[in-house]
């Protein structure tokens, strides 16, 4: 561990907070129709979009209408993406397929399409070996925008439901969608892309470069429109890399500065949403208590990961390597990490992208130490409530907040209330289902995949060997997909090799389909429950707080909320975690 490592972590959380507060205010403004500095630029395109999409944006929707629009729009996005990816060759006339890649097989495409629609961005394919520029731009980049926007609008709708004073309307889906893209995602992505190119990311449409190196070896360098996709991949907590090695690739993440900058891009919207919530609730302290809850759990995860990775791995020690910091060397577990990021930059990236649903990686999570690798597991086990994905994080933690209010109410023997609204049996049923559905899906899929021969085919035993790593891989795969994260213990595969330009390769149907189901079900079921909660809360009357009202904006509540999150996560996942990462973290034994 080094001073600069700790300094990086400290400066990161400080800067994040400094960015998130004004961004949250800005978001609260444009979602509630107040004027912002973007209005002069975006009003006209906005009205134009409503006109051609035939939308009456002034009409509010109740939760059922909102949900229906959301589901049908997602389905349209799914069909469009599947069509673009499967017809990759057809689009070669655009000149955006210089390497002549064929489409991936149907099963891998099913998985990829579900993955991008659900903001998961799980990748069984390698970008630079299978995807044309057209697919990356018109297919994947578009869903990076849409899936992020869908996540955010659900959170906004839930906020409206909780704070609304009358009526059943929770907003208009089409208005929220268009405004999220025009006011937030598009302008921010443009700025981020340009900064990335300024730092060394590439952005071109050229054929890959071929050349002879100075020792006479033939070489190839991949090209492409990388920065534009990278920007929205981070901002929308999508995480699907242009290249197979994601943000470890120098063209996606060229310098130590971009590494820091990219992390800010990932967390800024999830963090800002919390402040937006406080502002829209008319009580900023409600936002602060949620922010404190997230930040405490986040810092805990970062510290554990950094210390574990700086210590080195059992395999390194068995090989006789010394892993302490030396002059000119970071030491630690550099397996699967890049020199320019070092241990702290890799550990921080790992935590930021697994607490959110981003799932981008700048290092190989599979190669993290047992405890270092248990951190992303723990983050996923907390169901993405530590900042979480754009939107998903806030609506998920609000479900936990209602649960905590309910438990608190039971303890003191009063009717639970949140922001003056009674939390009753119907809401708690919906909340419980919303919270439990993701872990249950993850565990069900993991069990199916480990118990069946077809599932075990995805474990690459040549690299993984036997022992707990194979289980960790499988568990991580379905946990990550259920939480729509998309990071991977990348030894687990659903795509059996790419041959030449993609012709003749085949997917592993079991892993592709089960993963696709895992992602889609665990995304849309909680969304429906969150919207249903929004609808149930929207119509409720607000009663003024009395003497016995449990406060939800102080330290006691933060402790209660952390307790509830850890309790639910631990009770659900502890047995499975014991079998994989914890076993590895507690032993120096090497498995063959």
């Amino acid at each position: 561990m080094t001073l600069s490592g700790w300094l990086t972590i400290f400066l990161f959380v400080t800067l994040l907070t400094v960015i998130a507060i004004p961004l949250g205010n800005y978001m609260a403004a444009f979602y509630t129709g107040e004027r912002t500095f973007m209005d002069p630029l975006m009003r006209r395109p906005e009205q134009f979009l409503y006109r051609i999409m035939r939308v009456d944006a002034t009409k509010g929707q109740d939760w059922k209408a909102y949900a229906k629009s959301l589901i049908i729009f997602s389905l349209a996005g799914w069909l469009m993406l599947y069509f673009i990816l499967r017809s990759q060759n057809l689009w070669s006339f655009t000149g955006l397929n210089p390497m002549g890649f064929h489409s991936a097989p149907w099963n891998v495409t099913f998985n990829t399409t579900s993955s991008f629609m659900t903001n998961t961005n799980w990748q069984y394919y390698g970008g630079e070996t299978t995807m044309s520029y057209f697919s990356q731009m018109a297919g994947l980049t578009v869903q990076n925008y849409c899936s992020a926007a869908v996540g955010i609008v659900v959170a906004v709708a839930l906020i409206r439901g909780i704070v609304s004073r009358s009526g059943n309307a929770i907003g208009n889906f089409w208005q929220d969608l268009v405004r999220t893209i025009l006011w937030l995602l598009m302008p921010a992505s443009i700025v981020i892309s340009v900064v990335l190119v300024f730092q060394g990311s590439i952005q071109n449409l050229s054929h890959y470069l071929s050349f002879t190196g100075i020792t006479g070896l033939g070489n190839q360098i991949a090209m492409g429109p990388v920065a534009s996709q990278e920007a929205i991949k981070l901002l929308g907590t999508n995480g699907g890399g242009f290249f197979n090695t994601n943000s470890a690739h120098p063209f996606e993440n060229p310098t130590a500065f971009t590494n820091f900058f990219e992390l800010l891009a990932v967390l800024s919207i999830p963090a800002a949403l919390v402040f937006q919530y406080g502002k829209m609730a008319g009580n900023r302290r409600q936002g602060h208590s949620i922010y404190a809850t997230m930040m405490i759990m986040f810092l805990g995860a970062v510290i554990v990961a950094y210390v574990a990775e700086a210590h080195g791995s059992p395999a390194q020690h068995a090989a006789g390597l010394h892993t302490m910091v030396r002059a000119g060397s970071t030491g630690g577990n550099m397996e699967g990490k890049e020199q320019r990021f070092g241990i702290a930059g890799s550990a921080l990236f790992d935590v930021v992208t697994t607490v959110t649903s981003c799932g981008a990686v700048n290092s190989s999570i599979e190669s993290f130490t047992g405890i270092g690798g248990a951190v992303p597991f723990a983050n996923l086990s907390a169901s993405e409530v530590i900042f979480g994905g754009v939107g998903t994080g806030l609506y998920s933690i609000l479900l936990y907040v209602l649960l905590a209010v309910f438990l608190g109410g039971l303890m003191v023997g009063r009717t639970p209330e949140y922001l003056g609204k009674k939390v009753e049996a119907r809401e708690i049923k919906l909340v419980s289902l919303g919270i439990l559905i993701t872990p249950l899906t993850a565990l069900f899929c993991t069990a199916l995949a480990t118990a069946s021969r077809a599932g075990r085919a995805s474990i690459d035993t040549a690299v993984t060997g036997s022992g707990p790593q194979g289980f960790s891989e499988t568990f991580y795969a379905y946990l990550s997909q259920a939480n729509n994260n998309g990071s991977a213990f990348a030894g687990y595969t659903g795509y059996d090799g790419t041959f030449g330009n993609g012709a003749g390769s085949h997917g592993i149907t079991f892993a592709d389909l089960l993963g696709g189901f895992d992602m889609t079900f665990a995304r849309y079921a909680p969304i429906l429950f969150a919207l249903a909660v929004a609808g149930a809360m929207a119509g409720k009357r607000i009663s003024p707080p009395g003497l016995g009202t449990m406060r939800t904006d102080n330290g006691t509540f933060v402790v209660l909320l952390i307790g509830v999150i850890i309790l639910v996560g631990a009770l659900t996942f502890f047995p499975a975690l014991l079998l994989g990462p914890i076993v590895q973290g507690l032993t120096t034994h090497l498995y063959s």
Binding site: F73, I181, N244, E335, Q339, V463
Partner: protein, 228 residues
């Protein structure tokens, strides 16, 4: 229902045009005008010929020829190579062949695996072999090491034994570079001070002074060596 379907269908087409065509082409245009060097991958040329990208690592190795037939030895369709001692070596790579930027991949070596151990041992022995002018003895000894301070795994820097993430890491640690400098100086008949000076010239510090770790760009360093 029907209205939602119509709106969704039009919506996804319009958003595809906006976010999938206009947006990336706009960024491409701006980048090609404002930062053409970066946008095209920081290509480096020698005598007008492309020799690589400044930020993509390469395998500085020679092909192995069969002593009898004179043919290049192949393994799985790729030539077998051996590190070229005249050049600084990049970090171990998980791609096939090594440092293949057209198909990057993680090595995915787990922390508690004998397969990882074997890979580390092989990387360490390659590194130590490069530090020795003659073939290593069976016990791993050497009569006169280039860098006398590096004689066993304990002194090998972790970045030289551990596989990089991208497989095309352009940088090595400063310690790694200074150890290799002994070999480079001896093989190229340069003074150690000259080589160390070049290393300092191509060392990139931390981002904004605090983020990440300093590293030495191997391709630029090797090109500079060739210019001496």
């Amino acid at each position: 229902m029907k209205k939602d379907i119509v709106t969704s269908a039009i919506g996804i087409v319009v958003i595809t045009l906006l976010c999938g065509i206009i947006y990336p082409l706009l960024i491409t245009g701006v980048s090609q005008v404002a930062f053409p060097g970066n946008a095209n991958g920081q290509q480096l040329f020698v005598d007008g010929k492309l020799v690589g990208s400044k930020i993509i690592g390469q395998n500085f190795a020679d092909v192995v020829k069969n002593p009898k037939t004179g043919k290049v030895e192949m393994s799985d369709g790729n030539p077998v190579t051996t590190p070229d001692p005249r050049y600084f070596q990049t970090r171990p790579s998980g791609t096939t062949p090594a440092d293949n930027d057209a198909a990057t991949s993680f090595a995915n070596y787990g922390p508690n695996s004998t397969i990882t151990l074997a890979a580390l041992q092989s990387n360490i022995s390659t590194y130590l072999q490069l530090n020795c002018p003659t073939t290593l003895t069976k016990s791993g000894g050497c009569s006169s090491w280039y860098d006398p301070a590096v004689t066993s795994a304990a002194q090998v820097p972790v970045d030289a034994a551990d596989t990089s993430a991208s497989g095309v890491d352009p940088e090595i640690s400063v310690l790694n570079a200074h150890i290799q400098a002994y070999r480079i100086a001896a093989v190229r008949h340069l003074s150690l001070a000259t080589v160390d000076k070049l290393i300092n010239q191509y060392t990139f510090g931390r981002g904004l002074g605090f983020s990440g770790e300093p590293g030495v760009d191997v391709l630029e360093l090797n090109l500079a060596l060739n210019r001496i």
